[in-house]
Amino acid sequence: MSAAPTLAGAAPEIDLAQLVKRYGRKHALEGVDLQLTGAQLVGVVGPDGAGKTTLLRAIAGLLEVEAQRANVLGFDLRGDVRALKAQVGYVPQLFALNRELSVIENLRFTGKLHRIATAVFERRAEELLARTALAPFADRPTGALSGGMKQKLAVANALLPEPALLVLDECTAGVDVVARAEIAALLAARRGETLVLLSTSYLDEAASCDRLVYLDAGRVLATGTPAELRAQVRVELYRAWAAAPRAIAAAARALPYVVAVRTSGRYARVEVAAERSPGAARVIADLAALAGVRVVELRPLDMETTLLALARSGARA
Amino acid sequence: MKARRLRTLMVREVRATLRDPFTVISLIAVPLVALLAFSSILATNVEHMRLGVHDASRSALSRRLLSDVAASGAFDPSPYATREALEAALVAGEISAALVLPPDLQDALAQRAGAAPPEVQVLYDGAETVLAGNADAFLRSILAASGARISVRELSSRATRLGELRSPAARAGVDVVTQALFNPQLLGRPFMVAGTFGFVLSFVTVLITAVSIVNERLSGTFDQLQLTPATTVEILLGKLLPLGAVFSLDVLLMVVVAGLVLGVWPAGSVLFFLLVATVYVSMSLSLGLIFSATSATAAEAVQKTVLFSVPLVQLSGFAFPIRNMPMPVQWLAELLPATHFIRVARAIYLRGAGPFELWSELLFLGAFGAALIALAVRTLERRT
C-alpha cells in the first residue's frame, strides 16, 4: 500500500474526557475517559450492552455527545465533524453497503464522497480488490456476495480513502476463519500508519491488539496492553483435569479462596483470588484432593479469564 | 383443541396488540379519520360557490335578481366590470360559474307581450364536472323562481291581467314534483358513511392482520409457540379471534361516532348491521392471513395489501357507482366481496333494509367468505 500523505506528520489521537451519550433517559455512555496516541491496533472489549457500539459511533462522529473534552484527530466531536469524517473509515456492525449496487459501484460512491481523484481511485480500488481477492467479483451485486466477502469489501471500502483512523464495529462477527485472517492481514498492513479501533468478541483478536480498552456499563474500566490488563487482574488460574469435570465444580466452589469455576471438555478452570490465595502449592493440593481429580496445573492468565475477571470487578463496581 | 390453551393464547394476543402504540393508533385513528374525511366529500348541493357576475344591465331589475341569487346562500356573487375580466377569472379558476346579465334585461322584460323573454347567460367551469352539474340545477331554479316573481311584479305594476302573464309559461313543459325517498335532502353524508365501513373493513383491517402475522413470524414468536403443545390452528385462532373481536369493536365504535358526531344512524337494525359486519370481518382476516403467508417481510405484506385493496375499493362502488362503469368492469366489480358488503351497508343504513330484502347479497357474501376461509386454511397447510 502506498504511503499515506494525510498521516505523515500528524499523530492520530483520541482524547475523551467524561464523554456522555444519552438516549432519552437511558445513558449509553456514562462518562468515558480515554486517551489513545499513535498508530496502533486498539481493541474495544466488554460485555454486551457495555456501550461499545455507541463509543465507536461517537468516535466516528456519528452521534451528538456531551463531554468535557471530545477530541478525535484534533477535531471536536461536538462541533462540525465533516473534516473529521474525511479522515475516518467506519465499518458498522451489520453489513451496510448497498446490496443492489455492484462491488465497484459501492467503492466508487465512497470515492466520490471522499473526493478521490479518478486516477487515484482506480489505482487504490484495484489494489484493494486484489488484496481482498474480490477482483473477480467487481461487477457482481454486493447482495450476492458471501458473508465473508461482504465483510472484506466493507473493510476495503473503509480503507479506500486511506483514513488516519479506522473504526470497525465487530466487523468479523460471524465471518469464517479464512476471511477473518484476510481482514486481519488488511489491518496489519495499516499498522503503524493508521489508528485502528475495533470492537470484538473474539478473544484471539483481542489478544493480538496492541492495546485494549475494557468498557463496562458505559464506562472505561481499564486500558492497557493485553499484558498490562492481565497484570491488573488479581486472579490465579488453575486447571483441574478430571473424567467428569462437572462433578468437581461444586466441591471446588466450596473452597474459600475460589472465585469461579467453569468446566470445559475434560477439565475445570478454577479461578482463585490472588489476595486470598494460600499459595499455588496449597491450592494444587486442595484441588487434587477432590474426588475424581487426576491432575492439577497452574496456568498463565488467558484473555478469557482476564476479561471475565474484569467483568466481575465491573459488576461489583 | 383445548379451550384453555386457546384462551391463554388469546389473552396474550390482546395484550400484545394493545401494547403496540402503532396498532392501537391504526385501529382507532384510521377508521375515525376515514369516517370524518369520507363523510364530507360527496355533496349534491352547492354552498358559497364563487359566482362571477357581469351586470351589463345595471338596472333595478338586475340588482333584484342578484340579491335573490345571493340570498339563496348557494352562491357568493362577486362583480366583474367587463366580460373579458369575467372570462379571465373563469380560466384562472377564481370563479366556478359566471352570470352575464345583458344590457337590455329590463327592457326585454318590460316589452313582454309575445317577445322572447330576456336572455341570461350562465357560464360554468366544465373542468369541475360535479360542481358545474350541481350548480347548473341550482342556479337555474333560483333564476327561474326569481325571474317569475320579478315578471309578476313588473307586469302587474303595469296592470296587466294575470291570465295574460301566465299564458306563455303555462302551455310549455310539465311540472315535476320530486321527492327523494330514504334521504330526502340527498345528503352525501349517510351514503359515504355506509361506504366507509366497506373501505375500512376491506383495507385497514386486512392490512393490520397481514402486518401483525408477518411481524409475529419474523420475531420468531411463532416458532416458539410451535414448541409448546399448541397446534398451528390454535395458534392462528388465538391470533385471529382477538383481532376479529377488536375489529368488530372498531365497527361498533364507528357506528357510534358516525351517529353522535355526524348524526348518521342506520335506518335499519344496528344489530343486523353489526352481524353482517362481523361476517365480513372474518373475510378481512382470511385475506390478511393469505397476504401474510405469501410475504417475507412486513413491508412486503403492506405493499401487497395496498396494491390489491386500492383498486378493490375503487371498483367496489365506494365512490363511483358501478353501473357507470363499462360492462366488463362491472362484471369484475360484482365478483368483489367489497362491492356486496358496501351495497348491503348502504341498504341497511339508508333504506333500512332487513335480511329479507338482502338475501341474495348475503348469500354471495356468505359463499365468498367460506371460499376465502377455505383458501386461507389451505395456504397455511401448505406452509406448515
Binding site: 459511533r57 462522529g61 452521534l63 451528538e64 448497498n98 446490496r99 449496487l101 466520490k112 464522497l113 473504526v167 | 376515514a34 369520507f38 364530507s40 349534491t44 335578481l65 380560466v91 379558476g93 322584460l109 322572447a116 323573454p117 336572455e119 350562465v122 360554468y124 366544465g126 373542468a127 369541475e128 364536472t129 360535479v130 358545474a132 342556479l139 333564476l143 327561474a144 325571474g147 317569475a148 309559461a169 303555462a170 310549455a172 313543459g173 310539465v174 311540472d175 315535476v176 314534483v177 327523494a180 325517498l181 330514504f182 330526502p184 335532502q185 340527498l186 351514503f191 392490512l207 408477518v214 412486513a298 413491508a299 395496498v306 363511483f320 353501473r323 357507470n324 363499462p326 348502504r346 330484502e357
Partner: protein
C-alpha cells in the same frame, strides 16, 4: 464557495448511487411504467360520476299518448336503461326500496286532461340512498319535463312564436354553457389531474419508504460516516426521483391525450414549472413521514394513510368547493390541492403562467414550510 461546490458534488454522488440502485431495480421501473397506465384506464375508462345504465320505473296511470311520449323523451337522454312498468304505487316503491330502480316516474290519471287546462304535473320519486345519481337524474328528468310539450299541436305555433320559452319556466330564459368541457365529461375532470395523483403516490412513497429502508439496512449509518451531511444524503437520494416524476407526468399527459383525446390546452412549460415545487413539497412530506416512523412497515402504512386523505380532500377526485369549510381548510394544507387547481387550469382551461400564480406561490410556500419542518425533525447525526 468551496462549501457550495462540495455540497453540489456530494449531492450528485448520492444521486449517482440512487440512480444506480434504481437502474438495478426492475420492480420499481415496472411500477413507474405500469401505474400511470392502470390509473389512466381506471379514471379514463372505468370510474365516473356520470349517470349511466340507470334503472328506473314508470307508473303510467294516464295511459295517454302524451305520457308515452314523455317516457320516450326521458329514455332518450341516454342515461337510462329501459323503463320498468309497474302497476301500482306500492310496486314502484318496493322497487326503490330494493335498489332495483333509482327513479320512479308517476304520471297521474289527469295528465292528458291537464295539458289543455293548466300545467300538467308528474311525480318523481328518487332513491336518496344513492344521492349523487339521484340528484343528477332528478335534474335531468326535470329538464326533460320542462322542455316537454304535452300538446303536440302547439309545437309548430310555438316554435314560430316563442322559440325560447322552453328553457325557462317563466320570465327569464337561461342559457347555460359549460366551458372547457362542454359535455361535462367526468373523464376530462379526472384525467386533467391524474398527474397529481400519480406524483403524490410516487413522491410520498419513494421518499418515506426509501429513507426508512436506508435506516433499517444500515446504509444510512454507513453513508453518514462518510464526509457528508443528512441534508446532502436526502437531497441526493431524492434528486433522481424528480426526473422520474417528470417521466411519469409525461406518460400520464401523453396517455390521456392519445387514449382519450385530453391534451393540455394551456402552456406545457407552465405545467413543467408548476410541477417542480409540487414534487419537492411532496417529496418533503415523504421525508417528514420517514422521521416519524421506525420500520419500513410503519412507513408504508403511514404513507398510505397520508396519500388517502390527500387524494380525497385535495379535490382531485371530488370537488373541494363542496366540502364543509373546516374540511376545505384541512385540504388546503395539502400540496395536491394547489397542484390540481393549477393543473386543471392549464390542462382544461388553457391557462398560462398568469392563471396559475396562486397555486405556484402556494406550492413554493408549502415547500418552504415542509423543509423547515424536515430540518427541525431530522437530526444532524444518528439517534
Amino acid at each position: 464557495m468551496e462549501r457550495l461546490r462540495h455540497f453540489a458534488t456530494n449531492v450528485l454522488a448520492m444521486a449517482y448511487r440512487e440512480g444506480s440502485v434504481m437502474r438495478h431495480d426492475k420492480a420499481f421501473i415496472a411500477a413507474v411504467a405500469v401505474q400511470p397506465i392502470v390509473m389512466l384506464l381506471l379514471f379514463g375508462g372505468a370510474l365516473s360520476n356520470e349517470p349511466a345504465n340507470v334503472p328506473w320505473a314508470v307508473l303510467d296511470q294516464s295511459q295517454s299518448a302524451g305520457a308515452r311520449r314523455l317516457v320516450e323523451e326521458i329514455g332518450a337522454t341516454g342515461y337510462f336503461l329501459a323503463p320498468q312498468r309497474v302497476a301500482s304505487y306500492e310496486d314502484g316503491r318496493a322497487l326503490l326500496a330494493r335498489g332495483a330502480a333509482v327513479a320512479l316516474v308517476v304520471i297521474p290519471h289527469d295528465f292528458q286532461r291537464d295539458t289543455f287546462r293548466s300545467r300538467p304535473q308528474i311525480q318523481l320519486l328518487l332513491d336518496g340512498a344513492d344521492p349523487l345519481t339521484a340528484a343528477r337524474i332528478g335534474g335531468t328528468i326535470g329538464q326533460v319535463a320542462r322542455k316537454f310539450d304535452p300538446d303536440l299541436r302547439s309545437v309548430a305555433a310555438r316554435s314560430a312564436d316563442r322559440p325560447a320559452v322552453a328553457n325557462g319556466s317563466a320570465g327569464l330564459q337561461t342559457r347555460p354553457r359549460f366551458w372547457f368541457n362542454p359535455t361535462l365529461r367526468d373523464r376530462n375532470f379526472f384525467l386533467a389531474a391524474l398527474g397529481g395523483m400519480l406524483l403524490t403516490n410516487l413522491c410520498f412513497s419513494v421518499s418515506s419508504i426509501g429513507l426508512v429502508g436506508e435506516r433499517e439496512s444500515g446504509t444510512y449509518e454507513a453513508t453518514l460516516a462518510l464526509p457528508t451531511s443528512p441534508l446532502e444524503i436526502v437531497l441526493g437520494k431524492l434528486l433522481p426521483y424528480v426526473g422520474v416524476c417528470y417521466v411519469v407526468l409525461v406518460i400520464a399527459i401523453v396517455g390521456a391525450g392519445t387514449l382519450f383525446g385530453v391534451w393540455p390546452k394551456g402552456s406545457w412549460l407552465a405545467i413543467g414549472v408548476l410541477t417542480l415545487p409540487f414534487v419537492f413539497a411532496s417529496l418533503s412530506v415523504g421525508v417528514l413521514i420517514s422521521t416519524l416512523v421506525h420500520t419500513s412497515a410503519q412507513a408504508v402504512f403511514l404513507t398510505v394513510f397520508v396519500i388517502l386523505p390527500s387524494v380525497v380532500l385535495s379535490g382531485v377526485m371530488f370537488p373541494y368547493q363542496l366540502m364543509p369549510h373546516g374540511v376545505r381548510a384541512i385540504g388546503a394544507i395539502l400540496p395536491l390541492r394547489w397542484y390540481q387547481i393549477g393543473l386543471r387550469s392549464l390542462v382544461l382551461r388553457g391557462g398560462d403562467f398568469g392563471d396559475v400564480w396562486v397555486p405556484l406561490v402556494a406550492l413554493c410556500l408549502q415547500f418552504t414550510v415542509l423543509m423547515a419542518l424536515v430540518r427541525w425533525r431530522m437530526k444532524p447525526r444518528l439517534g
